[in-house]
């Protein structure tokens, strides 16, 4: 493609017209890839907003079954919240170590991130199993269907994130800190931080407001 052609379809800019975009083409992959992933994460939050709206609409539709304040245990939720928040923090530490090419600390922090995520997931599965055991499974009422869909969807995301963390540990180990590996790692950290943001909404709306006296 000639320079004039490129200018005609807007790929370059004349020095005379200041578009505020500078005189370059598209950004490098290290910007574009995480930005695209950021758009995905935001659309994921839109998905969760629909699940939150469903939950808010159905939270009182208990069909004579158990209501929120009879089911939820704040101590468990506090531990889950702490585990996920620390996990998000340690994920940041892993990014710091990875940026500086420190293999040992990157791997250590990623393992800790994953372990804290596992603690969260184990507590959530235990809670779900306990609810099903007392007959408060997703089939019991519209409220419980919405509850398991919302919180379960977050749990499924955490599960996917844990598999991704495991994959990244293996890839960094096998391939080192190549640019494409670093892009994946940055996307993983965006994903992991976003899951913690969604959990903030869940523990507030579902658990704390649901167990107010």
């Amino acid at each position: 493609m000639s320079a004039t052609e490129a200018a005609a379809i807007g790929l370059t800019h004349n020095a005379s017209e200041d578009t505020g975009l500078g005189h370059r083409g598209p950004e490098s992959k290290s910007i574009v890839v995480p930005y695209g992933f950021w758009l995905f994460v935001l659309s994921d939050m839109v998905l969760f907003s629909a699940l939150f709206a469903t939950y808010a609409s159905l939270v009182h539709a208990t069909d004579g079954g158990p209501i929120t304040s009879q089911l939820f245990d704040r101590t468990t939720v506090a531990v889950e919240t702490g585990a996920l928040l620390l996990s998000s923090f340690v994920c940041g530490l892993a990014m710091i170590a990875a940026k500086r090419g420190n293999m040992a600390w990157t791997q250590i922090w990623l393992v800790v991130t994953g372990l804290l995520g596992l603690v969260f997931l184990a507590l959530e599965i235990e809670e779900f199993a306990g609810l099903v055991a007392i007959g408060a499974g997703p089939q019991r009422s519209a409220f419980l269907s919405a509850f398991f869909t919302l919180v379960g969807c977050h749990g499924a995301h955490v599960t996917a994130g844990l598999m991704w963390i495991g994959t990244m540990i293996a890839q960094i180990w096998a391939k080192g800190f190549h640019p494409h590996i670093m892009r994946r790692l940055l996307c993983l950290s965006i994903f992991w931080h976003a899951l913690d943001i969604i959990w903030v909404a869940i523990f507030t709306i579902v658990y704390l407001i649901g167990t107010l006296p």
Binding site: Y35, M45, A53, L58, A142, L208, L212
Partner: protein, 129 residues
Amino acid sequence: MTDREPEQLNVAPGAPHDSLLSETLSYVIGLGLALVLTGISFWVASTSSLWGPGVAAGLVVLAIAQMGVHLVFFLHITSGPDNTNNVLALAFGVMIVFLVMIGTIWIMGHLAANMGPTPEMLNLHTQRG
């Protein structure tokens, strides 16, 4: 990924800072603020010394504040010119999230309150999942 040119136009969300100190500080401050806000949330929900009807609204405000902390200190979303695209995408996402949530709660609340002469038929308590 981290070679930042002086005149860099855009930065990726979550991209690390340049200096080790400022970067570590960012995560530590974020963790501290998030822990404080979480602690306040759990305290607000447990105490009986606050005006009851306002507690739920207060919890929502605390949650939004904590989400802001996560966005700024963990995802490094800033008001700087290199973050314009990230912020615009976020603003659009937040708009859709609020439209979906407030719109649904508003419409479904009125639907439940206004429909039909036989409220027991529409009583949400009798709906099955």
